[in-house]
Amino acid sequence: QKEVEQDPGPLSVPEGAIVSLNCTYSNSAFQYFMWYRQYSRKGPELLMYTYSSGNKEDGRFTAQVDKSSKYISLFIRDSQPSDSATYLCAMTSTSGTYKYIFGTGTRLKVLA
């Protein structure tokens, strides 16, 4: 079993829909959680990061962490065709090594 699990999709939604992307993990030492967006043939780019449990909002994006369930989510409101990409979750502990463990990514397609 992988340390981080992510549904590969693809996930197709109509423009304007609310999108929910999720990851589960098994290592309770993880404290820092990130979401990256990767467009086709590009490198991942950091969207959001959160520490420990709770919510964080940035524009149309909300990141949510539930450490008791070992479950993190990224919500995208009013989704746009430009949001079509692969979304990767990543996480690390506070051990000082800063080694990120990535999920395999969920492909999202927002249809105009």
């Binding site: 043939r41 990061y49 090594t97 395999t104």
Partner: protein, 116 residues
């Protein structure tokens, strides 16, 4: 915008040949990572450096892969000899790691390697 520069962008080589990939991290960043991305495995960490010193290369096949940082502006990943199973996209990422406060890292655009 500061960016991580990787060369070459694409590489096609024959099995058994040596492959060298290069990365120029963002100036001032003290941590450099090498990742490999495939459809099946996703992003796998191969090696990383802090202040040019290798901290962890446990994800790398030691018999054929090697990673170095000859200076603060250059990181290299070599494969010798290359095999078809090495075909993947190789990403370099750099960042500034602060005690107790890791942040996300900036990725390059990757080197797409095909070994035939």
């Amino acid at each position: 915008d500061a960016r991580v520069t990787q060369t070459p962008r694409h590489k096609v080589t024959e099995m058994g040949q040596e492959v060298t990939m290069r990365c120029q991290p963002i100036l001032g960043h003290n941590t450099v990572f090498w990742y490999r991305q495939t459809m099946m495995q996703g992003l796998e960490l191969l090696a990383y450096f802090r202040n040019r010193a290798p901290l962890d290369d446990s994800g790398m096949p030691k018999d054929r892969f090697s990673a170095e940082m000859p200076d603060a502006t250059l990181a290299t990943l070599k494969i010798q000899p290359s095999e078809p199973r090495d075909s993947a996209v190789y990403f370099c990422a750099s960042g500034l790691a602060r005690t107790y406060s890791p942040h996300g890292y900036t990725f390059g655009s990757g080197t797409r390697l095909t070994v035939v």
